[in-house]
Amino acid sequence: MSIIFEKSVPDRKGVTLPACDVPKTRQIPEIYRRKKDASLCELSELDVVRHFTALSRKNYGVDTNFYPLGSCTMKYNPKITEKIAALEGFSQLHPLLPQLRRGGMLTQGALAVLYELETLLCEILGMDAFTVHPMAGAHGELTGMMLIAAYHRDKGSRKTEILIPDEAHGTNPSSAAIAGFTVRSVPTNTDTGMLDLVALESMIGEQTAGIMMTNPNTLGLFNFQIEKIAALAHQYDAQLYYDGANLNAILGKFRPGDADFDVVHVNLHKTFATPHGGGGPGAGPVGVKKHLEPFLPISRITTRPDNTYALNYDFPKSIGYIAPFYGNFAVCLRAYAYILMQGGQGLIEVSENAVLNANYIMHSLKNDFHVPYLKTCMHECVVSAKNQAEHDIHAIDIAKALIDEGFHPPTVYFPLIVKEAMMIEPTETESKETLDAFIGAMKRIAIAAKETPQALRAAPRTTPVGRLDETKAARDMDVCFLG
């Protein structure tokens, strides 16, 4: 399919703009003007519509079919929340309005959304205060690390290290490093699939600023020793960070706040059903316990005695601005709508069904694939292509073969500590029929791995392109169309 710029026809127009209705009094002086026009497309509206419709047909989304991408919580995204976000009272609202004098009164509906979302998240996570400013999960992690740094700085303690389990998502060590910390990786006990407590005890000390945990962890296992870890952390005033990537497993079953976590982030685009958009936008609100609240980013939303909402910037210990305004508002709006529609009981059922679906897949596949930790999993399960690798069929081959079966592959080669890992997260919105179809495909692939491995290596065959040459991509660096 041609690049859109190749379709361009000189002098063709896609939009008619209103004629200028004011007298033209001045021109931009020549010295400030670009020499040559930017060579953007020249296309009709229909040309553009056809191009992007064709592109969309080369894409696969949750609406296409099952998308069991582990760690990503690819659940169904309700259509009504799109309609809500498009309401003009929200979509056309300028973010500087509430910063005008008495401007808070101009945006009461929007401030209510954010305030109420923060309140609900506090209850869901068991935290004391939330900020909705972080614009993605990793941005929430960075915010959390900045809060921890500010807390220790305020106390005058010099703490330089963050401890992170080796099974953690890559964003964890990256966020901690970018906030200025030294990162140390804590090994996982490979027998239990849990953080190695003995190793943790030997690594923690006065230099430890915090520990980042994902619970359930990326193996899909709930760490029941969390109280011990929290006690150990707090003995050194290290702050315990909860990565909410796997929150979909535990709604109404476990609240990080109750287990003494000090900071959490949640991914609204995972647990609270906002669309992933092909790589964003997301939102990563951060919750804290009381002792960290003074450090939260500004602005914060507070209520006045007359029950109206106001933006408040008067927090002298705050880490300051981390977003231009109030976070990804339209994402927060969708998540708030989703939570209101689910209600407390609905959220509990979300997690129950997500966990049931994951266990159902794991038990249905345990005779066909190696399951490194064959015990009750939470919302996702990790299976391994270790046995298939003996026939030189690897996780990547299975992933590509699944594509030909009509499914999006699971996350492969993660977590890093499991060889040939395939991380499957079905989510609660998938039906038994869909799961059965996926299980059937996996079983057929397991047989093919033994009997016709060559065919699997040639997968996928049903897609617009086959396996792509990534080495060539990195070498040629064709990242901008030059034609």
Binding site: F5, L17, V22, K24, I28, Y32, A38, L43, V48, F52, Y60, G61, T64, I80, G89, H94, L100, R101, L106, G109, E123, M135, A136, L142, M146, S174, K253, G277, G279, G280, G320, Y321, I322, P324, Y326, N328, F329, L340, M341, G344, G346, L347, I348, E349, N353, L356, I403, H408, F414, E428, S431, V465, G466, R467, L468, D469, E470, A473, M477, V479
Partner: protein, 460 residues
């Protein structure tokens, strides 16, 4: 409203396969004493009830005010086709394109978007997106610090004050030295004016040149600057390059269709807020941070980059490339921690640029310029009101009022206008100054009404 498909009898069958009797058994690993101390949430609502609730909330917002507020975030026209195509769920319900065979739509769109950003800025490479214009500028700063091994950054006072605050927050725990230089005075010397205390002009060369030295990693400039002033920073870039400093410009993409490009001025990196390219204001987000750079810096860039390659049969296709820079491979040594970015907003920007096209974007920019200058003339005619104009401006300009700008704007709201942004909020001593933005959406009639209302308010 539940989106769960399985029925009670299906759940029973599935539990049997799992070898447990009830769903509660699946949560046995969570000790009883760690169960929620409370989980007090409202009862779920139907779709119908929820929509009614949000219609009510939306109605409490003054989105209908005639908007002359900008500050880097503008009320531009968005063609209907942008919404229609970005609403195709093959795009918006997809994940980051890690499986390229299933994501050629997203990947080709990113590649084309990168191309569009390169063509607007004149630079060689662009990434797939960052959160917003502020974080994009911060990431550019980090690139410069890593590329030069230096830890001093010069920020021009014309850079959006919100972005300068953000950069300060992000670097609070890192030892980086900042120097901020104010821009030049915004009123011509004249007999009747004593306004030399107000700084709303171009970048102050003298102070900038004093601040640049061989310990400096980066110099951050903005064009048009926060006061709407147009500049040509070529001389500053040249001086910076002589000292081995990376020059970074934050830009307004609509203006770039007419203005000298960052590349023409010699900049190494350009960043900006892409909201004006077909993304609704939505009370502050989601927006779009874009970044383009010289090719030599590509391996230092943050975020996703799509590249064109071939498949096993030689067919052209697209992948995410140079992933070895990124957090999921490189962990604590990654160039940035960014994972989820603003892909759908980048798609909207690409749609917008494709529809507006070469002439359309220039027309939008010219309309903005012409209407803003008409507004200037109208406002200049109001007694006691001065327009700051020592330098050319694009679609935004500063006005000095005889009264407190915040108070003035408050009264203008009652007359149906969001009349501008009072600068006193970010600039000490500028309580009487108002920043007025005009886009192609504003009509001659609306501008005239604004001037009349402003006159009524200040002359009261």
């Amino acid at each position: 409203m539940s989106y769960i498909a399985n029925t009670e009898s299906q759940r029973r069958e599935m539990l049997k396969v799992c070898g447990v009797r009830s769903i509660h058994d699946l949560f046995a690993d969570i000790p009883e004493r760690l169960r929620p101390k409370s989980f007090s949430l409202p009862q779920g609502k139907s779709e119908f009830e929820a929509f009614a609730h949000f219609e009510k909330l939306a109605g409490q917002n003054y989105a209908h005010l005639t908007c002359f507020v900008g500050g880097g975030f503008y009320d531009h026209f968005i063609p209907a086709a942008v919404d229609a195509l970005a609403s195709r769920s093959e795009f918006y319900t997809a994940y980051t394109p890690y499986q390229p065979e299933l994501s050629q739509g997203t990947l080709q769109a990113i590649y084309e978007y990168q191309t569009g950003i390169c063509r607007l800025t004149g630079l060689d490479v662009a990434n797939a997106s960052l959160y917003d214009g502020g974080t994009a500028l911060y990431e550019a700063c980090q690139m410069a610090i890593h590329a030069t091994g230096r830890r001093k950054v010069i920020m021009d006072g014309g850079v959006n004050p919100i972005y300068r605050k953000m950069i300060r927050s992000y670097t609070a725990n890192l030892s980086i030295e900042f120097v901020e230089t104010p821009v030049t005075h915004g009123l011509k010397a004249s007999k009747e004016s004593n306004d030399f205390d107000s700084v709303t002009g171009q970048s102050d060369r003298k102070r900038l040149f004093e601040a640049l030295d061989d310990r400096t990693a980066a110099v951050l400039l903005q064009n048009p600057n926060f006061f709407g002033v147009i500049d040509d920073h070529s001389d500053i870039v040249k001086k910076a390059h002589d000292l081995g400093i990376i020059a970074i410009q934050s830009v307004y993409p609509v203006a770039l269709s007419l203005l000298k490009t960052p590349a023409e001025q010699g900049f190494d990196i350009a960043t900006g807020e892409g909201q004006s390219l077909g993304i609704p204001l939505s009370f502050g987000g989601p927006y779009l941070g874009f970044m383009a750079a010289k090719k030599a810096l590509v391996r230092k860039m943050p975020g996703r980059i799509a590249a064109r390659t071939v498949d096993m049969s030689g067919r052209s296709g697209f992948v995410l490339s140079l992933q070895a820079r990124e957090q999921h491979i490189r962990r604590e040594k990654a160039t940035s921690n960014i994972c989820t970015n603003e892909a759908l907003c980048a798609l909207r920007a690409h749609l917008y640029l494709s529809l507006l096209g070469k002439e359309g974007l220039k027309t939008v920019a010219q309309l903005c310029f012409d209407k803003a200058h008409y507004a200037k003339e109208r406002i200049k005619a109001i007694p006691y009101v001065k327009v700051m104009e020592s330098s050319p401006t694009f679609n935004e300009f500063t006005v000095k009022l005889p009264i407190d700008a915040g108070e003035c704007v408050g009264r203008m709201v009652e007359l149906g206008f969001a009349a501008g942004f009072p600068l006193g909020r970010y600039y000490e001593g500028m309580e009487n100054y108002l920043l007025v933005a005009v886009t192609e959406k504003r009509t001659k009639y609306e501008i005239g009404r604004l001037a009349e209302a402003l006159e009524a308010v200040v002359c009261q």
